[in-house]
Symmetry: D2
Subunit: 427 residues, 4 copies
Amino acid sequence: MIDAELIAAQNAQQQNALDSDYAALGERLARAGVDIESLTQQASQFAVALPSWGLGTGGTRFARFPGSGEPRNIFEKVDDCAVVNQLGQATPAVSLHIPWDTPSDAAELRQFAQERGLHFDAMNSNTFQDQKGQPQSYKYGSLSHSDKAVRDQAVEHNIEVIELGRKLGSNALTVWVGDGSNFPGQQNFNRTFSRYLDSTSAIYSALPDDWSMQLEHKMFEPAFYSTVIQDWGSSYLAATQIGERCKCLVDLGHHAPNVNIEMIVSRLAQFGKLGGFHFNDSKYGDDDLDSGSINPYQLFLVFNELVDIKNRQPSFAPFYMLDQSHNVTDPIESLIYSAAEVQRAFVKALLVDRKALEGFQDSNDVLMAQGTLKAAYNLDVEPILQMARLRSNGAIDPIQAYRASGYRAQCGKDRPASKNSSGSGIV
Amino acid sequence: MIDAELIAAQNAQQQNALDSDYAALGERLARAGVDIESLTQQASQFAVALPSWGLGTGGTRFARFPGSGEPRNIFEKVDDCAVVNQLGQATPAVSLHIPWDTPSDAAELRQFAQERGLHFDAMNSNTFQDQKGQPQSYKYGSLSHSDKAVRDQAVEHNIEVIELGRKLGSNALTVWVGDGSNFPGQQNFNRTFSRYLDSTSAIYSALPDDWSMQLEHKMFEPAFYSTVIQDWGSSYLAATQIGERCKCLVDLGHHAPNVNIEMIVSRLAQFGKLGGFHFNDSKYGDDDLDSGSINPYQLFLVFNELVDIKNRQPSFAPFYMLDQSHNVTDPIESLIYSAAEVQRAFVKALLVDRKALEGFQDSNDVLMAQGTLKAAYNLDVEPILQMARLRSNGAIDPIQAYRASGYRAQCGKDRPASKNSSGSGIV
Amino acid sequence: MIDAELIAAQNAQQQNALDSDYAALGERLARAGVDIESLTQQASQFAVALPSWGLGTGGTRFARFPGSGEPRNIFEKVDDCAVVNQLGQATPAVSLHIPWDTPSDAAELRQFAQERGLHFDAMNSNTFQDQKGQPQSYKYGSLSHSDKAVRDQAVEHNIEVIELGRKLGSNALTVWVGDGSNFPGQQNFNRTFSRYLDSTSAIYSALPDDWSMQLEHKMFEPAFYSTVIQDWGSSYLAATQIGERCKCLVDLGHHAPNVNIEMIVSRLAQFGKLGGFHFNDSKYGDDDLDSGSINPYQLFLVFNELVDIKNRQPSFAPFYMLDQSHNVTDPIESLIYSAAEVQRAFVKALLVDRKALEGFQDSNDVLMAQGTLKAAYNLDVEPILQMARLRSNGAIDPIQAYRASGYRAQCGKDRPASKNSSGSGIV
Amino acid sequence: MIDAELIAAQNAQQQNALDSDYAALGERLARAGVDIESLTQQASQFAVALPSWGLGTGGTRFARFPGSGEPRNIFEKVDDCAVVNQLGQATPAVSLHIPWDTPSDAAELRQFAQERGLHFDAMNSNTFQDQKGQPQSYKYGSLSHSDKAVRDQAVEHNIEVIELGRKLGSNALTVWVGDGSNFPGQQNFNRTFSRYLDSTSAIYSALPDDWSMQLEHKMFEPAFYSTVIQDWGSSYLAATQIGERCKCLVDLGHHAPNVNIEMIVSRLAQFGKLGGFHFNDSKYGDDDLDSGSINPYQLFLVFNELVDIKNRQPSFAPFYMLDQSHNVTDPIESLIYSAAEVQRAFVKALLVDRKALEGFQDSNDVLMAQGTLKAAYNLDVEPILQMARLRSNGAIDPIQAYRASGYRAQCGKDRPASKNSSGSGIV
């Protein structure tokens, strides 16, 4: 991890400016009856999980251009996660991908993470790739495969992931599959979906009582004509069939062009099936770009719903994870920056004057209703984010602190590139 | 209607060629163990309803360019529908739009239609426009409006449409609303959807026991940020909440770009909620182009599902309607031609060797599975369609017969353009 | 126009808060070496034209829900434009649509506008509708029609618009046509484009030396299979063929889904063909929503290019116009609000540290490059916009001032609804 | 290659049926004044090139599921290409990808191909991946990279590809690059494009006089925010700047959703810049699915343009290549099947009654104009394709013959899987 002295020294240089900006913003908010301290506190409590595979450089089907000092195993990934969280103070949990990150000793890994202030969030299974020595192939599907032997293998794998997760302190399983077809006619939609429901129900039966199961829908890729859970409609159908603790997970990049994602968020929550999020941004397809990098207002609108849902259902506690492919940036930097972008959207959503908004909505004062959202969005809450980090011993400017630390260069020395790196990050 | 002699004379000129083509196709099909007569019979029984508003020239928000001799009232529209059905023999029902087509005497209209071989299919209500003298405005919504008085008016209108439909012999109500928003923040998604569910439940309560209610989803337009039933997911949620005889209606043009519509068809049917179709084609948005004019293979894939569903659920009997905007063609010609295109897709779907297909699917012989669909699609079934028309006293070449009849020119004389024409066709 | 006293009184109540916010922002900017006064001055000079048709309530092909007190003629539209500009101080020009706004006396209209602080921007011709008494119909096209008589009529209309524009002090003609097709095969792309080039070249020949001609591309609507100028590629081709003063106009809503518009802006400018903009926002198609209401970051990215272009080509002076359909808001309010949103994007683009950006780009420091844009975008420049308005005798909060003035209610009395209103706003 | 006896034996079993179908179709066409023999002859002359990398199983960024007996080097790839061409008789040329397929001895490879009835089509360079030992990395671009050393390396590579191509008898270079950006701000569009133009101009200078250079545009992937040649507009601009023999290559999967590709084909041809095609099909993005598998009517519409262009410009001779990723099928089978699908679209396009079409277009008889295309498309030309193959010693049913031959099983024995297989097919 980064030397706390270095962070403190960096912060010391920036604190005067921050104090000044924070005071000015506080005064402005106070004029509107908003207490900045309450916002800063809520910002401090905000958390979004890191995906273990996100610490390696990502890639595409065309190429991957590795960066220097990539983590070579799950312990090095956890090390990197610890740095992300130390500087940014918004990412205390890690989400593992099995078998990429299977530890030989779960207890050891759990303790290793705890020592670095981290715990384990939702577990991710993988039945979209063939692993060495695996008897059955997933080339034509996994949980929905026409061959029962393949389905059984995929179910068994998921149950093993649950078992491992229990040892690591996780309490959720996220299921995303590559199942689908590339040609009209390749699969019968009805029978394929039935098989999927059978398999996921079998996994659900093995779920501990305090766990939830998260179904992740995706419109396309790696299957390019149909996918078994292609949209929120199929995800809702499946989650309803499978059981009460089966929920729908929304990945922001897994939708058809132009789709109103914030509305899907509302619908799923209204009917008790919204389970969590994979955050990223996209311009064309499932681009897995950094959260908020393309359309930050959309991210705000999603959080506008989330704050509204939370007000309605105080027990609402969705899973949040960054799911990005860092192809041209240092993954640590992108994760720090992106976590702050998500946090920024959350804080701005807190600023929405919901009482006024409801009034404008009820009276169809459209201009003022939209203006109420814009008024919150247009405010610059950077001082709140910085102050929240400062008070938690993070860095006011975490990218600058990270660069000053020389962490990546040290990794470059400590972690010579390996041909069998598990850090491919290609997801 | 068209003089039967004229049709017979036209047919006489073309029958030799048809007989030859029909025999050759019959021989080819026989080689594959398929009986052409069975197909011709099924083609003869195929029916798709005509929308009363489709007989007028359509338009866009920019302009409408009326054609000559447009129908000026519901009786003239029924006259035109009779011509479409006489020549094409695939469209024996008419779907009314209220209040555009409200008759002063329902019994009279019903008899008028019967005399022309027509009956009335699903009724369509209209709460997306303000009618003269209407107390409440739908500017900000109808069934989901924030003001109960507006919702009540919209519910009441739907109930009146049901009442009228009973008198006309219809057995279904199709509900499509323009409700939605143009700005983020304009509406609260949760509360708006709840109000929609309340209103539609009230309408459902007034539904006769042998009627169904069809909910039509639409991604956008006239609302451009959100719509209350934006996709099949919301439609399914609503239909499930409302009641067993509430179903989902799929309009081919009401989806996000790239969406796999045939898969939606399968999902809704698998869970008992597929109610019917509005057929049209589109390249960009809800273009309401003629069915099969842009992507005929997609239309075939939809019918491939429909035939599969029917095999699974013999009682499956969805509503079919052409929902097109005829901006640059003679509506009668477009409706004849389009009905035949839909029928063509149906007949080709019947040709799919489903036993072979299932085998290829189960063994993941992907190339042959897709090839099985393509083999059916590539066949030219035009002789079957022509023979089905000939045997039902329709025209082998209905467009040619229509033009030979001079029907449109006669309408141009009999129906001088009116400023208050009800035939605007702008939907 | 609005009583200046009322505006002053409103401003007086808000000035203390503004002064405080402005000082705090000024201090923050000064820390980064940026002079707030320079920004405020540039904000004051920013101008975007108002479309005369935008003052009426807009609509869709389904319905139009008129508001109260809509302008009934071009003089009342200019009155409304004067109010928009008085309060918002960012819209000193009006763009006319002919024949909707043809004045009986051009000199009178010009003086009427001048007295209200307004002048006339680019002229818009209309060959996408048939006007009463027009010999030829545009049902199947205008400038690209297969019939020379139709093309000649359309060319002649454009030349008349130029003539009128000269009298009004305009210096540009914007040409958008509805020409295109609804079916594959309806038109031959090659011959249609050739005819379009011939017609536009004929118009260009009549262009005064100090005028430019702006070609506006559009992907679809009202034609739904092809349009003659479907994208910037065809627009560039045409502008290059036609002549040096023929340029390409970019309407933000006229592109295929996901297209990178800011890149198109750059390409057209790099090759000397960027002529102007129609600002609006959209989620699905050519939704004509208020500028910045859906994706404000995209609007910022467009201005990021515009500022970059201006730095490269100091003489660069594109035409800017708001092109929105105000279906559910008071058009005056939407125009005031939208002009400020466009201005906001401009001011934020000015804040980009371009020297630092170039350095990050050259060294492929991707995270910092994107962060440099985000740093500018995240700043809240509202105090600058407010101060710019205040110093120009506009309103600090123009919507509040407008509502306080009772202007709309007065219009509701002064302008009884007319059946033949020219203010339809349906474009 | 496949035993000619086996093919002959298969054909013998099917020839009676073919003769019967061919005669019936011939009679039907004769009735319309069309000579089936002329069509069969043109079908026989149709050719589309095979991409050397298409013989290996394709994959996605998530996984690749290799098939059995994949080719391990360029000679085995050529062997597979020979089988594809032997059975399907539509693919006499191979398009190489360098450095994946660099031969140690070009003359040897050329002769090896000739002996199998094959020659070499357009050469493909690769600057979107880093090769072992390569001094400069393409992580941040190649021909448009900010660093001149990287650009020089990429230019040099292309020149080497030209040199190799000369030895192999090729006469074109296709340039597709992955250059672009993942974040707004990462690159300056203007400067990046200028660098691209400089680099490609340098390559063009090295082009032999009888060669052409083909620029391939792509909307996104591997770059997910911008690409340097994002659409046909930028491709046209570049080709125009670079030189007369620089042309634009259209890959059917590289466009924004909904875009009218056949119109782009027409525009590029009208202005002399249409160079060639990469055929494939797609539903969502650059899915690289088998040609005609998703939207066969679109493929027909593209060929409708190509036939029209050829009639206008008899010297028009574009490059055709199949560019597909065979993830779940045997690549040999997919290539045979796809080549026939492209050929099918071509033959149907030949059937369009262009004189009648022109008449309908000129008189705006829209229904008949579109019906003229549909009439050609609806015909089943399978007998023509079969007869063309039979007469060229190919197989009437090439998939069946291929399977009967046991070729793949033999490859499975002869080609044990290698870890360093060059046949990855992931493009």
